[in-house]
Point group: C2
Chain length 199, copies 2
C-alpha cells in the first residue's frame, strides 16, 4: 500500500516555498503520496508568545535565512525577490487553498508561492489569488466565494488547531502516517524515506 504524508505549510514561509517546489518530485521517486495542508503558523507563534517570525525578531538569523534562500533558489534555478512586507499576510491564500478541491491545492499553492517569492507580489492581493486560481483550471468566482464562507474559515481554524495539537512549531513540517514529525525543507528527503514502505 502506498504511504501518505501530510505536508503542512504556511504561505508566508520562505522554506515552505522551497518545500512546495521540491516535494512532488521527491515523493514520486519514493512512491509516497502527499496531502497538502496549509495552516496559519502565525497563530501558533502568537500562542508561544512570539509577535512575528524569529527571522525578524533576530536579525542575525534573518540575514542567514535570506542568504540561505539565495543559495537554494540559485540551485533550483528560481529568481528570489523578497516580499515587502515580510512576512506576508497569508490568511486569504490559506482559505482559498482549503476551498479548492484537494487535487487543485498543489498547483494553486505553488503559483501563490512563486508570485510571492519569485516576483515579490503581495499574496493578499485579489489579483494574485485570481492568477493562482487560474493555474488550477477551477472557476475563480466559485473558489473565492467558497473561501469567504464560514465553512472554510472554520476548516482553516480546525487545521491550525490540528497542527498545534500535533506539536508543530514551524513550517514546513512533514508528518508521516505513523506520527513522526520532520521540520524543515532540509528534511524532506529524510521524511519521505521514513514514510516509504510504512503505509
Amino acid at each position: 500500500m502506498q504511504s501518505t504524508v501530510d505536508f503542512w505549510y504556511e504561505f508566508a514561509s520562505t522554506y515552505s516555498f522551497l518545500a512546495a517546489e521540491r516535494i512532488e518530485a521527491l515523493a514520486a521517486e519514493r512512491d509516497v503520496a502527499v496531502r497538502w495542508r496549509p495552516f496559519l503558523l502565525g497563530a501558533i507563534f502568537k500562542a508561544q508568545g512570539h509577535e512575528t517570525t524569529p527571522f525578524n525578531t533576530y536579525p542575525v538569523k534573518g540575514r542567514y535565512m535570506w542568504r540561505d534562500m539565495e543559495r537554494w533558489c540559485e540551485r533550483l534555478g528560481l529568481p528570489l525577490v523578497r516580499p515587502d512586507p515580510f512576512p506576508q499576510n497569508s490568511l486569504v491564500a490559506a482559505r482559498v487553498a482549503l476551498a479548492l478541491p484537494e487535487d487543485a491545492r498543489a498547483a494553486f499553492s505553488k503559483a501563490v508561492f512563486r508570485a510571492e517569492f519569485c516576483e515579490g507580489r503581495p499574496i493578499s492581493d485579489p489579483a494574485v489569488i485570481a492568477d493562482a486560481v487560474r493555474q488550477t483550471g477551477f472557476e475563480l468566482e466559485t473558489a473565492v466565494t467558497a473561501a469567504q464562507t464560514d465553512l472554510v474559515k472554520h476548516a482553516l481554524r480546525k487545521e491550525t488547531e490540528e497542527a498545534q495539537r500535533l506539536g508543530l512549531f514551524g513550517a514546513p513540517t512533514i508528518v508521516t502516517g505513523d506520527g513522526e514529525l520532520f521540520w524543515g525543507n532540509d528534511r524532506l528527503e529524510e521524511a519521505l524515506d521514513w514514510a516509504r514502505g510504512r503505509p
Copy 2:
C-alpha cells in the same frame, strides 16, 4: 589546493554532537579539511536576550528535538542518554579543547560528546574531562593546567567573539573559506559540497 572549513561547535549542543560524529568521514570523502572550533553559544544567546536554549524555552520545540535525536542516534548506532541538567555547563570542556593542540581537538571533543549524550555524564566533572583527554594521548595535567591560564580563557573569549562577528546564532555552524555559513547538523553535506574545490 585542499579546501578548509571551520566547524564551530558548542559542547552543550545536541546537534553539535551529531555533527562531531559525522563530519570527519563526510569531509574525507570530499577531500576537505576541518578546523574544530569550540565556542560558547550561551554567550551569544544571552546577547540576543535568550536566557537558555530555545529547546527549553519552547517545550514543543524541545520535544521535537529529543525525538529527532532519538531517530538520528538510532541511525548512527549510538545510544542516547539525556544529560541532566540540559544544557550542560560547557565552559571547562571548551577551554580544555582550546588548550589542546589542534590535532587532538577532534578526539577530545568526540569523547566529551559521547560521555555527555551516550552516557549522560556531567561534562563539567573533572573525571569526564580527564577521560576525554586520555583519548588524545596528551598528558592530562598539562592540558588541565593550560586550560586554567588566562591565555586560554582569553582565547575562548576571542573565539566566541569571532563566532558572533561572523553571524553565528546556533551550533553547529560550518563556515567555508569564502565566508558562507551553513547552520545545523543537517547541512554538513551541503556545506562540504560547497567547500569542495573552493580553496
